[in-house]
Amino acid sequence: MIPVELTINGKAVKKTVEPRLSLADFLRDHLRLTGTHTGCEHGVCGACTVEVDGQIARSCINLAVACDGAQVRSIEGFDDDPLMEKLRQAFTAEHALQCGYCTPGMLIAARDLIRRKPGADLATIRHAMSGNLCRCTGYVGILRAIQRVIGEPLPAEVAPAPKAVVAVTPSAAVPPAAAPAGRAGWTTLEQRIDLPHAPDKVWALFQDLARVAPCMPGAELVDYAGGDRARGRVTAKFGPISASFEGEASFRADPAQRIGTILGTGRDRRSATRAEGEVRYTLTPLADGKATRVVILLQFGLAGPLAQFGRTSLVQDFVSRLTVQFARNAEAALAGSTAAPKQLDTGSMLWAVVKAWLARLFGRG
């Protein structure tokens, strides 16, 4: 618990709060200022917009403790503001609200815009208001209401906005080629690695789950007694995020064609994200059979919180880096090294999922 002192709507407030408490929850739950609404709670919808030190901010992604010493103004603090009064009237006249959930945020964002850009045209208003979402009235009335007020002279009492005082491309051999379409909604990625060992030797490694799994950064076998099934865990870090996927995989192999398939499902307990996917690897000889090209086709789907960060290109970059490290570890294993395989020395996350697949996948065919 941390003491925090700030001014809210002109009144000094002193409380002791948990560091993780957001400014929005501080206003709503601790001060009963429920005019501030929480919508998405991750900085997307704008419903929780308030003013901090004269500038608008999203109270859901700012910590109360980080606002120590600040002047905070929530929608309740604008009751006597002449510009807000004009906006309220315009919102009424133009039917700019229906359920009213987005309205406190809309009003505070609109008031800030009018002070910063008096006289702005419709395109500018639209652009500036794009960070506040409305899910029922639609935006036409809201924009009209703002237009109505933005063209008028600013009320003299409304101070202008205060001025703050301020004196590689993935290195692997990885060009992702066009891959066949996977299941609806799944992401498909293709990776290639070339290993300086004969296909038979590489195939043998890939069939030896106990040996190949540790080559995958972050992978760990939890339960494997031979056969075509295993339980495993894959931990990954991606920037500030880390995830640990635990799950099951089953393997199929076609030694004649040197094609292996791994099917898996896993769950990250902390984020309650589920992942499901398939990995298919194909070994082909290179350089007269002295080397091997491994083509890995990865298809997966995520459901749950982590999926919200599932931007394909990011996964691709992560998988590329992962693949490079895997290739190095596999190469060392093939060369007979007994040193502990290297982990990925980067940041933390969901791409763990991906990792999970790659990991198991190489397991057995």
Binding site: R20, T38, G43, G239, P240, D317, R321
Partner: protein
């Protein structure tokens, strides 16, 4: 949507911040507009947040010779509002004004964005195009690193544990310099799908074209930049831009090539 518990500290100076950041599970809070959502979704679970807001050194703004030096905690909004001297013929201001939404720009910082290293973020690409140099502090002292090469992948940088990005030095553009910056988003303020950035400055014989929001670090298109004239409009074909781009699928390639094409058109229209 509540973060998992963590400890919080608000150091008053740089040595205090570095000391706190040396702890296990410590994470810098430099505005928190990207970290905040990740905390709420419990994707990020730091043991300790080190809030850099009170470290005055990180807010310093200086003009040093031919460069503008911005403290890492300079907010996007302060650049947007013109509180930072314009030494880039308006480029920094234009880029800043189009980052996410106003309510995010007032809290989010340039240094925070660079250290977070989201490939779709604006500064990693724009400051690569401007050839910025970063000042990095760690226990033993400070060092510098070029922005080009600082980001090593998605959410990955050369910063290292316990180190801190303290300032960004941005070379000033001459009167004859040209620049273009174009980003493609599904909706204003959303993460970019593609970014193109171009900076040309005959006074320094400097040419740079950058393709951003590619998944990893922004890509400097050297062969393409070498073909660019300073005083006449180039006759580049789309195929030439495509040839310079890294491998990506056809949809991504189209978006990125268009972003670079439009950034070039902007630069030469200036």
């Amino acid at each position: 949507m509540k973060p998992a518990p963590f400890d919080y500290t608000r150091p008053a100076d740089l040595p205090g911040a570095l000391k706190a950041l040396g702890g296990d599970g410590a994470r810098a809070l430099a505005g928190g507009q990207s970290l905040g959502p990740m905390l709420n979704l419990r994707l990020a679970r730091p043991g300790l947040l080190v809030d850099l807001r009170r470290v005055d050194e990180l807010r310093r703004i200086e003009q040093r010779g031919d460069a503008l030096v911005l403290g890492a905690m300079t907010t996007h909004a302060s650049i947007e509002d013109g509180q930072v001297p314009d030494t880039t013929r308006g480029m920094l201001r234009r880029v800043a004004a189009d980052i996410a939404y106003r309510a995010v720009r007032t809290r989010g910082t340039m240094g925070g964005s660079l250290a977070h290293a989201d490939p779709a973020a604006d500064w990693v690409t724009a400051l690569t195009a401007l050839d910025a140099t970063l000042t990095i502090a760690r226990g033993g002292g400070t060092s510098t690193a070029l922005m080009a090469g600082f980001m090593t992948g998605a959410f990955a940088t050369a910063l290292g544990d316990g180190a801190m990005l303290t300032a960004i030095s941005i070379p000033s553009l001459s009167d004859r310099a040209r620049w273009g910056y174009y980003k493609i988003c599904r909706k204003p303020g959303e993460f970019a799908d593609a970014i193109g950035a171009v900076v040309l400055d005959p006074a320094r014989d400097y040419r740079r074209v950058v393709m951003g929001a590619v998944g990893g670090a922004p890509v400097v298109l050297e062969s393409l930049a070498a073909k660019l004239p300073f005083d006449s409009t180039p006759t580049l074909t789309r195929a030439e831009i495509e040839a310079a781009a890294p491998a990506m699928d056809s949809v991504d390639r189209q978006l990125h090539v268009v972003a670079v094409e439009r950034a070039l058109a902007q630069a030469y229209a200036r």
